[in-house]
Symmetry: C2
Subunit: 341 residues, 2 copies
DNA sequence: TGGTGTGATGTAAGCGCTTTCATTTGGACA
DNA sequence: TGTCCAAATGAAAGCGCTTACATCACACCA
């Protein structure tokens, strides 16, 4: 006990204000249950003592922390940085704070992070996608920790997200409508990543529906260089006139490779992205891509999770994606156009 | 009391393992102070009961939360997203978790966020830059909350950062060495932003040292379009041969504007950035910029803050910046070159 | 004027863990 | 085999707050 606690406690405030600790507590947590005159006295005492409630004690007694946890693959990816940013901004200020953890796309690490956040008292969780060990969902259910899934949709869980497959299908539809038939795709790694898989499947299914298939599909890690290499590889097949990319970073890489190969975009080859992050409007030409409502999603996810935490029912939210037609698409050149089937 | 707590407590574990609660606690917090045989029994009981310690109780009793808070202007800016990402990854897993808040460059909101994080029990804080109301520092001192400043340096506080002025001065030096004399700058808003101010001052001071000055300086908000507009404006002065930008986003905007004005970069005009974020290598031509060690900074900041939280002394860290010479710089065209003064 | 209902406030019992201090245990040593 | 010391363990006192319940004051109505 070499050092006495410097901070005023609720008892000090109560004593100074001449009320009970219960009243002090009420002033802070349910001000309208205290008569204004009393409240004024208490607030004055709080100010005088420079009091602020002890977090641990409050959490212990109220069984609530006001902390929400989020696990994302990485913040390096603008997609998640923006989504998390919007999510955080949408949380009622003062009421909730955001605990952020990243897992580097590693399912095992994601599990640890979820446990760590819950151990840190998270009242609720924001997770990315739905593809994970069912044991995790069981565990969350037992612990009664509400959660919202984002960047995906359609599962039996609560979500605020969008349809990766549909978004990509729309893009492929547009490319088909331009007349392309020899199409390749550069997909992100689909292993344990339902977003990447959804996009790939969405594209494949739409092609199949038209009796077509990709000439080739490269599945590569996230990254500019990764996209560039895959593109160079793919284009050794001289018949290919369009390359669908699983995200904007891969597309930007492909675009760079096209540059270096002295392929003219979009005259010689059409390249499309997905996400519509900043870089999509910085490339030359600017990237034709699928806009994902990252900001709206963050907001909706916050609202939904808040409801769940309060024990209310909350409807999942499916947000629309939208094609942003910029400069990297065109009809195939020097090739016979096919009528739409 | 309609619903009994579902979770096992330390008492349950102690009972099942046939030890006291103190021993259970020690098994969790100081395993080496318990004999292996006992520890095994306890661990077994913990597993059997699916026990995990209550966060609030732990925080209350130990006066520690293992939570670190960070306030950044925004996660939309890749610079902060990367730094925070690296910071989070560098925190000893399981030992600390990261509470993230953003303030949108608003000092008042930053203050609120700092208070909110401390109220949430943050054991320590990561803040951006040193430019803030002294009252905040006083308040943190009274509360004995350790903190580390990042993205800046040289103040009397603990920091892990770099020298904005020096980094920018180096860039201006390079531009001078190329022969440019009619130089303009597009700076971020310096109001309440020591990083932007440091960069601007660093550039100005270096010029002054050579007996020169900027032909013109635009101070504009962060953003692509913002940079584009400023550039167009600036270039109405036909004598300008180089435009120094306060960050990569402004530079990318300037580059886009140059494109639209059919100015050839770097032949007609040199454009430089600062930060070296992803977009710097996606522009065409790729951007010549100042690399900032965002990742290393995040790591160092984490290490430093951890030391401070443990009550040890920690040395501030000054990280070097580095010029990345890519494709947007060249000697001034059709102009007499000046010898270096 | 007394009964009664309503809203404000007080009383006090925990919440589940850590930690100090006391006690026990198990060897090492003579 | 008996002493003594260090290491291991146990007992119990909080940590500072919330909240169920009790109490009180007061206005209203019959």
């Amino acid at each position: 006990m070499s050092e006495k606690t410097v901070h005023a406690t609720v008892d000090d405030v109560a004593a100074l204000a001449g009320v009970s600790t219960a009243t002090v507590s009420r002033c802070l947590n349910a001000p309208d249950r205290v008569v204004p005159a009393t409240r004024a006295k208490v607030m004055e005492a709080i100010r005088a003592l420079n009091y602020s409630p002890n977090f641990g004690a409050r959490a212990l007694a109220s069984r609530r922390t006001g902390i929400i946890g989020a696990v994302v693959p990485t913040l390096e990816n603008a997609v998640f940085a923006h989504g998390i940013g919007a999510f955080e901004r949408s949380l009622p200020p003062g009421k909730f704070a955001l605990l952020v953890a990243s897992c580097g796309y590693d399912p095992e690490r994601e599990k640890q992070q979820i446990e760590a956040l819950v151990a840190r008292g998270a009242d609720g969780l924001l997770l990315v996608g739905f593809d994970r060990d069912p044991a995790i969902y069981d565990w969350l259910a037992i612990r009664k920790v509400p959660y919202v899934l984002a960047w995906a949709c359609g599962d039996s869980h609560s979500y605020a997200g969008f349809d990766n497959a549909a978004g990509m299908a729309a893009m492929v539809r547009m490319v088909l409508d331009l007349g392309h038939r020899n199409i390749a795709m550069i997909s992100g790694l689909t292993q344990g990543n339902d977003r990447a898989r959804g996009r790939l499947d969405g594209a494949r299914d739409l092609l199949a529906q038209e009796g077509l298939a990709f000439r080739n599909v490269a599945e590569v890690p996230y990254g500019l260089e990764s996209g560039a290499r895959a593109f160079a590889e793919l284009m050794t097949d001289r018949s290919i006139t369009a390359v669908i990319c699983g995200n904007d970073v891969l597309a930007a890489g492909a675009l760079r490779a096209a540059h270096r190969m002295e392929l003219h975009v979009p005259k010689d080859v059409t390249i499309t992205g997905f996400d519509d992050i900043d870089i999509a409007s910085i490339t030359f030409p600017e990237l034709t891509t699928v806009r994902v409502p990252h900001t709206g999603m963050g907001e909706q996810a916050a609202a939904l999770l808040e409801r769940l935490i309060e024990g209310k029912r909350g409807e999942s939210v499916l947000l629309p994606t939208e094609i942003v037609a910029r400069g990297t698409h065109a009809p195939p050149a020097a090739r016979k156009r096919f009528a739409k089937v």
